[in-house]
Each structure stands twice: as structure tokens, then as C-alpha cells.
Symmetry: C2
Subunit: 169 residues, 2 copies
């Protein structure tokens, strides 16, 4: 799944060797924005319909490359995946991808609203969300917790678009 030797020493290539496939960032997105930390949750609630073997492979790769950790639970137990600092720091990549996607590809309003919030509020908003993730996943308390939190603002914006859509449609 992951090459032993990098194709080159370029930083962009180095990032792509870990993140550059059609599924890795999707899984990471669900952990970061969806707050999902269990296998079943990541599979069944995934928008794109990821297959279980693909998900299993990606989770293994993400743990290998140090973007996630997995608490050691034996087979059959509820295992939780946790973001590492390296995983949290993929957030600017997500924000940039989302901003590009909203502008240049077709998207649905409900799902695009998060990307728009991140793109318009960046970069302070991205930093705030990273701090939130550090608190949730790494147990590092925030210095200046803001209210409402970024994730709460995103959830509210998502609901607002949904209700507006359902009235219109």
C-alpha cells in the first residue's frame, strides 16, 4: 500500500505518497469533520459508500504513517481511532481542497457549506478548529475556548442550509 522508498525527495511528492489516493483523505475527512472514530461508523455513515476492505486498508496505512493511532483492542472489541498532530495538520490541505472544489466542481449546497465556511474564515478559523481537534483527540485543553466553537458553527450552518432546502424543495 505504501512504498518503502519515496519516488523523490520533493515535499509535495512526499505528501502525495501518503495522502494522494482516492480514499485516504475521505477517511480522514470523516474523522476530522464527522467526528467518527470507529470502523462501523466510518463505513456505514460514509457519503461515498466506502467498502470495508478499502476502509480497513486505509486505516492500517494511516496508523502506519502516523496520522492516526488505534487503541489496542482485540478483534471484536470497539476500537477507537485517534488523530495525531500530523493528522490534525492535514486540515489546511482539506481546507484548500474544499475551497477549490466549491469553486471549480459541482457540489451540493448542504455539503459544500463547510468548505465555504473554512475558505472564508481562513486561516484563523482553521487554527481554531485544529485546537478543537487537539482537545478532542489529544486531550490538550484550549487556551481561549471560543463559543460557539468552529465545529458547532459548521453544524449550525449545515442545518440552516438543510432547512432552507427542504422549504424550497
Amino acid at each position: 500500500m505504501l512504498r518503502e522508498k519515496p519516488r523523490s525527495g520533493c515535499a509535495i511528492n512526499a505528501a502525495l505518497e501518503v495522502l494522494g489516493d482516492p480514499w485516504t483523505l475521505i477517511v480522514l475527512r470523516d474523522v476530522i469533520f464527522g467526528g467518527r472514530r470507529h470502523f462501523r461508523d466510518l463505513q456505514l455513515r460514509n457519503e461515498e459508500g466506502i467498502a470495508s476492505n478499502i476502509l480497513a486498508g486505509r486505516l492500517r496505512k494511516l496508523v502506519e504513517t502516523g496520522l492516526l493511532t488505534r487503541d489496542d483492542a482485540t478483534r471484536g472489541q470497539k476500537a477507537a481511532y485517534t488523530l495525531t498532530e500530523a493528522g490534525i495538520q492535514t486540515l489546511p490541505v482539506m481546507a484548500a481542497l474544499g475551497a477549490w472544489g466549491v469553486q471549480h466542481r459541482p457540489t451540493t449546497p448542504e455539503l459544500a457549506v463547510r468548505a465555504r465556511i473554512l475558505a472564508e474564515g481562513s486561516p484563523e478559523l482553521v487554527d481554531d478548529l485544529m485546537d478543537e481537534l487537539r482537545e478532542t483527540h489529544l486531550g490538550i485543553a484550549r487556551e481561549n475556548p471560543k463559543s460557539p466553537s468552529v465545529s458547532e458553527r459548521m453544524r449550525q450552518a449545515y442545518e440552516a442550509v438543510r432547512s432552507r432546502e427542504s422549504q424550497a424543495g
Copy 2:
């Protein structure tokens, strides 16, 4: 190569369906940072050793999705690829990926220097480089051309690291 229907309406997914594979962003990187606009140039000078069929497929896909245009030259003639506005706007994604790669993956100093310059000078520097690309590829003159240009600064930084390296042995 490209799906007809998106897997979902999510902006991040939409971006990944175009950019989320191991080669597309590598090709785009060589066009943006390497200034390469011809097939042979993109193939033979590529750091990662891209195969010609892979390159041909990616160039076709990039034209289809509107990130590049190709001047209509028949087979055997020198065809040039040109960035579109959508292609130019992948630069923030590149910068974010490069910044992550430098911090979290092994890289060589010569090739990482570009990513470091972009990460430290962002976001004004990224905007300047996008304006340079608009001038080179779209023929849109810059309002306030700075000297030295961003690409020139990058080239100089690359050379500086190289000579430092060769002295050190």
C-alpha cells in the same frame, strides 16, 4: 479515468475526484513550478520517473476537467499545455501539501526549499505566484510586478541550498 457521476456532493470529495490520485498533482506541479509545457519535457525531466502512458492519460484528464488547455497541434508537432484559471488555483493546495510534507515526511533539502518558501511567505506569496502564472499562461499582465519574482526567488533559494550542499560534501 474520471467518473461520470461524483461519489457525493461534498466539496472535498469533488476536488479529490479530479486531483486525488498519485500522479495528477505531480504533473501539475511540474507545469506550475517547473515551467514545463511539453510532453517530452514533462516526461524526461520528471523527478519521479512518470511513464509515458500515465502522463498521456493524466494530461488528457487535466484537459477534460479544465485545468489545462492544449493548443491543437496534430501528431508529431510540438503541442503546448497551458494552465487555466482553475489550474492556477490549485496552487494553495500545492502549498498546503508541501508544507505538510516538509514537516511530516522525509524530504531532500534542495527540493524542500520551495515548499518552505511558500509555507513561510504565505498567503501573499502564493497570490504573487498565481499572478505570475496568469501572466505566463493566460497573458494577463500583472498590476504591480515585483522584483525579484517569486519563481526567481525560488530558483535562487534552490541554487543556494545546492551550492551549500556541494561544499559540505
